[in-house]
Amino acid sequence: MRYSTGGVRDYIPNGCGGPDLPQTIPEVRAFQSWYGMGGHVAVSTWENGNVWGSDFRDDGGDIDPSGGSDLPDIYLFAGHGSCESSPGAATDPDFIITCGNFGTPNVVNIGTSSRWGNGSGDLRFMFVDASCPMDLVSLANDWFPVFQGLHMATGHSGNSGADALDSPSRGSQLGARTTGLPFPLSWLYPQQSVGDAWMDAGTIDIQSGCSAVALAVGATEQDAVDRRENERVTDNRAKPAANWAAWKWRTA
């Protein structure tokens, strides 16, 4: 499979407010190591200002050959996201926040701007470690339209009092658990489905009340649930029809 990572540590030096997130860079580099070990091929591994807001927007930026998020099969974003200060409403938007040297604006409204797997886009798995742009209360409204061939997405739901902490371990352990290691590590550290892996890795270093969320779609309810529970990054399943969405979450 082809994967990309985008890690944003520097917000303040590039004039984007803050705070900075020093562990995003070790996080994406560790993910790259695990995925390299699993035999996957890196498409782009940009960091800091080289990660652009336009990489996540369906205005052509997401298929930009230098690093769009819809080019690879798998994309891990580590940086800031949006978090409501209190339990939100079903219509509250979710955001990814970059600090790019191009491709502004840096704030990406996922529900209105991101479409993955459409046209010549290939993305199957979108991993967002940005807390909290998979807000459970608005998940169906914000994320249904995003799935245009995308198989699964992972992220967090929380608020400013129940947030994810800046840690390298979530992305790294997600990489370890999903990549499909070479034999015999493949069964000594068994490969997990994306949903199960994120339930374990996504709850590392998050505050009480924050939830790791994994979302899949399918042609039928059964198909969506099966993908949520069982789909691995190496399954090579066909693009799903987004008639149903199934998600699960585990709260710290």
Partner: protein, 274 residues
């Protein structure tokens, strides 16, 4: 992997009996004529359905029944919390986890929900359901948290073990003592450094160690400072881990990180639709 067939065979003779015994004692898994493998820092045994593996450099165990899980043949436990907690406590005992290090065992419910797209502008969302209940043990040493240690236990529909992850590395005495010093510093009002764009939310002493899956087992004591951003709507909070002198502590590793890509990113051509 450098292991050839002969060395695997020798290792099998040396360690397999102990692995089989540990699997039986800790998980109740009876692995008859199991396959054996060893690579890097982990060895294990398996049958068609059951796997038990153990790290060599840490008290870390993985066990699973591949028929376990929501929607799978053996299902997942959604019944009484007491059953899940009792199973977790039994495993803690069998794994010889020091009882005084067990800070607590709680049940974590994994929830699921589905939604149907009725039309382009309308979705119908169904009520959430409990997919499985997991028992999770947390750890302290002399009242000081070990943030990344845990035991997670998942039972199948019948209440038998379906999945276990036990990550409870031994903490050397010198590091325990350092944790005590750091706790005393925090009690005396350890001054957390300023971080641009953020304010201090919490300061606590504790122990850190490498994650469960990985090729390193680094262990240390640190003062952890959680910062919250000045804009509450911006998520992911910075953390600092500091030593007794207020210097950053190197974080525990799991894998050697990849080297960064060289060069800058080219400015793209005008975008096309996609």
């Amino acid at each position: 992997m450098p292991e050839d067939e002969n060395s695997q065979s020798d290792l099998y003779r040396i360690v397999s009996a102990e692995l089989i015994k540990a699997a039986s004692a800790i998980t109740g898994f009876k692995l008859k004529k199991p396959q054996f493998a060893s690579a890097a820092n982990v060895s294990g045994i398996r049958t068609v359905e059951l796997i038990f593996s153990q790290r060599h450099d840490s008290r870390t165990i993985f066990a699973s029944d591949n028929s376990y899980g929501h929607g799978r043949k053996a299902g997942a436990w959604t019944g009484s919390d007491k059953t899940a907690i009792a199973a977790c406590r039994a495993i803690l005992g069998a794994a010889k986890i020091p009882p005084k290090e067990v800070a607590g065992v709680e049940v974590v419910s994994e929830m699921g929900q589905v939604s149907e797209r009725v039309s382009d502008g309308e979705v119908r969302t169904h009520e959430p359901t409990v997919l499985r209940k997991l028992a999770r043990a947390s750890r302290t040493i002399e009242g000081i948290p070990v943030w990344h240690s845990y035991v997670n236990v998942g039972l199948n529909f019948q209440g038998q073990l379906g999945w276990l992850e036990l990550h409870w590395p031994e903490i050397p005495l010198a590091i325990v003592k350092e944790g005590d010093v750091l706790r005393a510093l925090v009690k005396r009002g350890f001054k957390a450094p300023d971080l641009p764009g953020a304010r201090v939310e919490a300061v606590e002493a504790g122990f850190i160690h490498s994650p469960a899956i990985g090729f390193f087992m680094d262990i240390g004591a640190a003062i952890r400072i959680i910062y919250s951003g000045q804009q509450p709507s911006v998520g992911r909070k910075p953390l600092l881990y500091l030593d007794r002198h207020g210097n950053p502590v190197t974080l525990p590793r799991d894998i050697e990180p990849a080297k960064p890509a060289a060069g800058g990113r080219p400015t793209p051509h005008p975008p096309s639709a996609g």
